[in-house]
Subunit: 211 residues, 2 copies
Amino acid sequence: MMKNKRGQVIVISGPSGVGKGTIVKEIMYSDPNLAFSVSATTRAPRVGEIDGRHYHFISREQFNDMINSGDMLEYAEYGGTLYGTPQKSVEKELDDGRDVILEIDTQGAFQIIKKFPDAVSIFILPPSLDELKKRLCDRGTENENSVKIRFGAAERELSLADKFKYLVVNDKLEDAIFDVQCIIRASRLQKTNRSEILEKYNISNKDKRSE
Amino acid sequence: MMKNKRGQVIVISGPSGVGKGTIVKEIMYSDPNLAFSVSATTRAPRVGEIDGRHYHFISREQFNDMINSGDMLEYAEYGGTLYGTPQKSVEKELDDGRDVILEIDTQGAFQIIKKFPDAVSIFILPPSLDELKKRLCDRGTENENSVKIRFGAAERELSLADKFKYLVVNDKLEDAIFDVQCIIRASRLQKTNRSEILEKYNISNKDKRSE
């Protein structure tokens, strides 16, 4: 009997304002075999946010318990709020054979890549630093100082792009979406993910699953 | 100044009758950055065949000279005719920044993969052995015995699929074409092929080019 195929972890990261959220939303929409990892947070839900769908809303105590028991794949604190990725929900999707997308900041992405060295890791870059600054300003939700801080952070994040397997430039959104879709499709065609075919034709696979 | 980006070697192999020729033709047609490697052969040109385009038609003596001087990336003899891939033409395309497609039998593909460990190697499989037999018969160009021989060879070739990085099943032709197109597009997005972006943002790349 064929064994159930396990999904892969897909890490999508990049500096703030680069458009990774939009790309992930479009990709999720078009691919039923992708699962989105729902983060946990200690902040209160905003109007319209649903527990378990937008976030797992948990207390700081619960969050710390999960960190201490190793149940958080990665976590970070921003402005007094904790955000993290619960291991259990990711593992469940992988076991069900679905690929799990983690849209995550650069630091969190590193933690994931260390834990899942086979992860398909994609870093989204802006076409230029000027364009990134423009996008951060155009959001309109930030004041001048906040744009400055975010832009400084973005420069630092960009310097870490070499930790990722794939680099996608988000110049035209449709192209960037197609790039990411192709990376995911290609990753599923890797021999290491096609044990069902190797078994079907009785082909021995000498390589272990690793890239 | 940015250095000229070198192309990659793309090896496409699979058993006889699996449809790799059709797939390669379609891919070449839609992608101007792909170059096709023109093989050398010792047989005479058939009607309509153009030297340098369909094959490099050379003498057995010239062919042997090229083997001896290491100018053949791979070669094989079928029914008294030598076929091979001249290194010089492949290297020229790579230096010009074009990806070179080598559509090649399994044995030749191994020789290429050994010489270019970074090659994007794709093995095309039939949806089933029965379907492969049917396709070989449907060609109409082969008699029963020749189909038997080709089918036996195909079974042996299939057992070597695990030497390749990607496995593509040619069930519906459009899907297989899109699979190969995605693999090529994704391979171009690998960090190791994007030195121009790393340089643009002054990102140090600690990894050497290898997968």
